[in-house]
C-alpha cells in the first residue's frame, strides 16, 4: 500500500486486493440495530461478520468479474457498536447484493419504563 497508510500504522492486509468501504444505512429501534450494506457480488459464504468488544467488522469477499475486467475486491467496514451485544444473536442475510445485519440490543440498552407513583 502507500506511504500514508504506513505512517498511520494501520494493520496491513495480506493479500493485495482493492478494499472498498461499502455504503451503509444504519437504523435503530427499541429492540434492534439494523445495518444495510451494498455488497454486490458477495454471497453469504464470502461474508464475515466479527464482533470484537464494541467493534463490529463486516467483510465481504467478491470473486473477480467473469469478464476479467477487474480483479477480485473486498468490502470492509468497522463500526463502534454498543457494548454487550450478543454475537450469537446477530443475524446476517444477503439478498440481491444487499447485506442485512440485525443486532439485538443488550437488555441494559433497551428503554425501560419507570413507573411514577403518586406519593
Amino acid at each position: 500500500m502507500n506511504e500514508a497508510s504506513m505512517n498511520k500504522r494501520e494493520p496491513e492486509r495480506m493479500a493485495e486486493r482493492a478494499t472498498y468501504a461499502p455504503p451503509v444505512d444504519i437504523f435503530e429501534n427499541k429492540e434492534e440495530i439494523l445495518i444495510l450494506a451494498d455488497v454486490p457480488g458477495v454471497v453469504l459464504e464470502g461474508l464475515t461478520v466479527n464482533l470484537d468488544g464494541d467493534h463490529l467488522t463486516l467483510e465481504g469477499h467478491r470473486r473477480s468479474r467473469a469478464s476479467g475486467g477487474d480483479e477480485a475486491v473486498d468490502y470492509r467496514r468497522t463500526f463502534v457498536v454498543p457494548r454487550g451485544i450478543d454475537s450469537d444473536k446477530i443475524a446476517a442475510t444477503i439478498h440481491n447484493g444487499v447485506l442485512r445485519l440485525v443486532l439485538p440490543k443488550p437488555v441494559a440498552l433497551k428503554p425501560r419504563q419507570i413507573e411514577v407513583k403518586a406519593g
Binding site: P11, Y20, A21, I26, F27, P40, S67, G69, N96, G97
Partner: protein, 152 residues
C-alpha cells in the same frame, strides 16, 4: 476588432474561473472517506459501477446493481447504442431511528455506443447477487477470424 476578441477572451476566462470554483464546491460535498482500518477508498463514482469487456465472440457488461430486482432494470439497444436504465427505490424501514443513510435511492441511465453489430437473439442478461451480467453476442461478421498461414 482586436479589442472585441480581447473582451471575449476575458469573458471566457471569467467563465472558466467560475466553473473551477463550482467544481471545487462540489468536491467538498463528496462523502468523507471512511476511516475503517485497511479500507482504501469509498466508491463515489457514478451509479452503477460497471465494467465492459470484449471477449472476442461477445461484449460482456457487468454492472453492480445492489438491491435491484430484474423488474427495476431496463436494457435497450437502439441502432448501435445500448442503454441501461433503472431505479433503486428507498428501502429504509418505517418507524426506525436513522443513524446513517449512505445508500440513497437512485434513478440512473447510462448509454454506450457499441463498437460492432450484435445478435440480440443470442444475447443474454442475468441479474444475480446484485450484479447484472449482459452478454451481447457479436454478429458473425464482427467476430475476429483466424487467417491460416501457409508455408509454401
Amino acid at each position: 476588432m482586436f479589442s472585441y476578441f480581447e473582451d471575449l477572451d476575458r469573458t471566457l476566462a471569467a467563465m472558466n474561473h467560475l466553473r473551477r470554483r463550482v467544481d471545487r464546491r462540489l468536491d467538498d460535498l463528496e462523502p468523507a472517506p471512511s476511516r475503517s482500518p485497511g479500507v482504501e477508498r469509498m466508491w463515489s463514482g457514478r451509479f452503477p459501477s460497471l465494467s465492459c469487456a470484449d471477449t472476442g465472440a461477445s461484449l460482456v457488461f457487468e454492472a453492480d446493481l445492489p438491491g435491484l430486482d430484474e423488474k427495476d432494470v431496463q436494457l435497450e439497444v437502439h441502432q448501435d447504442v445500448l442503454t441501461l436504465r433503472g431505479e433503486r427505490r428507498q428501502d429504509a424501514p418505517q418507524g426506525w431511528l436513522v443513524h446513517r443513510q449512505e445508500r440513497a435511492p437512485v434513478k440512473f441511465s447510462r448509454s454506450f455506443t457499441l463498437p460492432c453489430k450484435v445478435d440480440l437473439e443470442k444475447s443474454t442478461a442475468r441479474l444475480k447477487d446484485g450484479v447484472l451480467t449482459l452478454t451481447l453476442v457479436k454478429a458473425t461478421e464482427a467476430r475476429p477470424r483466424q487467417i491460416a498461414v501457409n508455408a509454401h
